[in-house]
């Protein structure tokens, strides 16, 4: 375990260094524009998986947390001129609070009800944002992002670098959850909630912790988004495709380890980036839907299971 952690640390440092050096290696800003989205989905899939994968509680409301992060950071920046790192931090805190609130309302009841309630979160938040004129209401608001710092080559590159940091931090958090006592407890919840409760696992508390962490990562993933697009409006901030991808990516990659969502997100998001350029976005959704059905039906363990890396591992 110790050796694995060192390896993980080394890997994280390599990815971060690459992320910072990339702008000098690749000149075309489009790569960073597209790469941002891929990394954003790595973060979203990882955040979703903390609750959905480890604990087996599916959250259809990933877009709700994401949108909350988007709007909070847009609001804090345009109103108080808060710097981006503080916006991200604030979004993470609000995401965690939202997660706990939602969890507290619904987690005492099992599975399905939780999933349905999360569907509602998106609608409720979107309705609220629609009705607040200070946030631009339905027509949205323009966000003129901060000037990128001097060391960065341009806004696309800077946003990309920020997203690299967020993605690596989220994956590290997910991995920590997975190997710590929290992960063990969550796996017990996933296997049998009643048995876990009887053996003295504090199931409600663990689920609330998972909700908070998951919510924090999902909201943090949304925080740099206003600066990436320079414009926020409710329909894209709470977009269905985010909620869909948040579920599809971990399921395709594999939900049991931190590797699964990363693989799933890298694959699916890259394909989508290519697909939106080459074919229509409707066919893009159709493709994701079909892939999702295929994986649920024929390979429920995801890609990481298909390739047998974790075959020896005991099923929780």
């Amino acid at each position: 375990m110790k050796k694995n952690s060192l390896l993980f640390l080394a890997g994280a440092i390599i990815v971060l260094t690459l992320g910072f050096l990339m702008p000098w290696l690749l000149r075309n800003p489009f790569y960073f524009f597209a790469g941002y989205v891929v990394l954003q989905y790595v973060t979203i899939a990882t955040g979703w998986n903390i609750l959905g994968g480890y604990a087996g509680y599916i959250n259809f409301g990933a877009a709700g947390f994401f949108g909350a992060g988007v709007y909070l950071s847009a609001f804090l920046f345009t109103t108080f001129g808060l710097p981006l790192p503080l916006c991200i931090l604030a979004a993470a805190i609000v995401g965690a609070v939202l997660g706990v609130l939602m969890g507290y309302l619904t987690l005492r009841i099992q599975g399905v009800y939780f999933a349905i309630a999360t569907l509602g979160l998106v609608v409720v938040l979107e309705t609220i944002v629609h009705n607040i004129s200070g946030l631009g209401g339905a027509s949205g608001m323009a966000v003129y992002g901060p000037r990128p710092p001097a060391w960065s080559l341009g806004p696309s590159q800077y946003n990309f670098t920020v997203m690299v940091v967020i993605a690596v931090a989220s994956v590290a958090l997910a991995r920590w959850v997975e190997i710590s006592w929290i992960g063990r407890g969550l796996r017990a919840v996933r296997a049998s909630e009643d048995a876990a409760e009887c053996s003295g696992v504090p199931t409600l508390r663990l689920k609330l912790v998972a909700c908070a962490l998951s919510g924090a990562v999902l909201a943090a993933a949304g925080a740099p988004y206003p600066f990436y697009t320079s414009f926020v409006e409710p329909v894209t901030a709470f977009s269905l495709i985010i909620g869909l991808n948040a579920i599809a990516m971990p399921l395709i990659g594999g939900t049991r380890t931190w590797v699964g969502p990363v693989i799933g997100a890298l694959l699916l998001a890259s394909v989508q980036q290519i697909a939106t350029v080459t074919i229509s976005s409707e066919l893009n959704i159709l493709f994701v839907g079909a892939v999702l059905i295929a994986f649920v039906a024929f390979a429920p363990g995801g890609i990481s299971d298909l390739f047998g890396r974790n075959k020896g591992r005991a099923r929780p």
Binding site: F60, G111, A115, A117, T127, I247, E282
Partner: protein, 292 residues
């Protein structure tokens, strides 16, 4: 005096809207409420039903007649869907909730995209002679486009409820949810009973679809705005309580109508979910159901 007019009209509109919502939720009351299959694709199937009705009305067929014609193909569609679902999951010893929810989620996306590729993403509506006229009763103004769909709901709900409670095959459907093994001991095939139930649930979608497209124009992605309402109705009614769902649907309809006439129509999509969240937090077993 004027405010009483508004209040009365809002309440009546709410009752009629709620009745339409109840017919949207009816199929889910069977699949989710009785069979415990979390079919979140149901609202999308309703939209598919609406588009089926729309297509037939283009040839001059009345929407209600079109819905009755649609019963058979939609029943078969449901049977096929269930056969697929059970081929995927039941042989592995029952589905876990995560997987079946995801399956239906993927399915609803595929249906939505196919509808939007086939019909375009513009709003579609039906035009019938009685649409556009209103019934005036004193201070009340009731448009027929709302009244007629609202009358469809109690009729279908009563028919389904009578079928489930008075006939042998209806009893089998209610039994399969309770104790599958006992049913097979009694000599019935649980898989075929469930397939039949799923078929009936999907067949109700075309009636709900006719109601929906009569009330107002519809686009392929309209199902997504109904997911909250229909689940709120089924869950709050208490799983499997079909008459209870009519009462809850009407409560939600009235709440939405009051919110949109006193506050702002843009708040009303959140109402059903707010009621659902409160209901789940305060009374998880539903208002009319027994604890599960």
């Amino acid at each position: 005096m004027l405010s009483i007019d508004i209040l009365l009209n809002a309440i009546v509109t709410g009752i009629l809207l709620g009745s339409v919502y109840a017919s949207l939720a009816l199929g889910l009351g069977i699949t989710f409420g009785i069979l415990h299959i979390p079919n979140i694709a149901h609202p999308t199937l309703v939209v598919a039903g609406a588009f089926f009705v729309y297509t037939l009305t283009q040839w001059g067929i009345d929407p209600i007649v079109a819905a009755v014609i649609g019963l058979v193909p939609f029943y078969l569609l449901g049977v096929v869907l269930y056969a697929f679902y059970s081929a995927v999951f039941e042989r592995k010893g029952g589905a876990n909730v995560l997987q079946s929810l995801t399956l239906f989620f993927g399915l609803s996306l595929v249906i939505e995209i196919l509808l939007s590729l086939g019909f375009g993403s513009e709003l579609k509506s039906v035009s019938v002679s009685y649409i556009g006229l209103s019934l005036k009763l004193g201070v009340l103004t009731v448009p027929y486009r709302l009244l007629i769909p609202a009358l469809l709901a109690p009729v279908t709900i009563a028919a389904v409820w009578l079928y489930l409670s008075r006939t042998n095959s209806g009893t089998a459907i209610r039994a399969v949810a309770h104790e599958e093994r006992a049913l097979s001991i009694a000599g019935l095939n649980p898989a075929s009973v469930k397939r039949h139930a799923f078929g009936i649930a999907t067949a109700t979608a075309v009636i709900a679809g006719a109601a929906l497209i009569m009330v107002g124009p519809i686009e392929p992605f309209a199902g997504r705005y109904q997911i909250g309402r229909v689940f709120a109705i089924v869950v709050l009614a208490g799983m499997g309580s079909i008459p209870g769902s009519l009462v809850i649907a009407i409560i939600i309809g009235i709440a939405e109508a009051l919110v949109s006439s006193y506050l702002n129509p843009s708040w009303s999509p959140g109402v059903a979910f707010a009621i659902l969240l409160l209901g789940l937090a305060l009374r998880p077993q539903g208002l009319f159901g027994a604890a599960r």
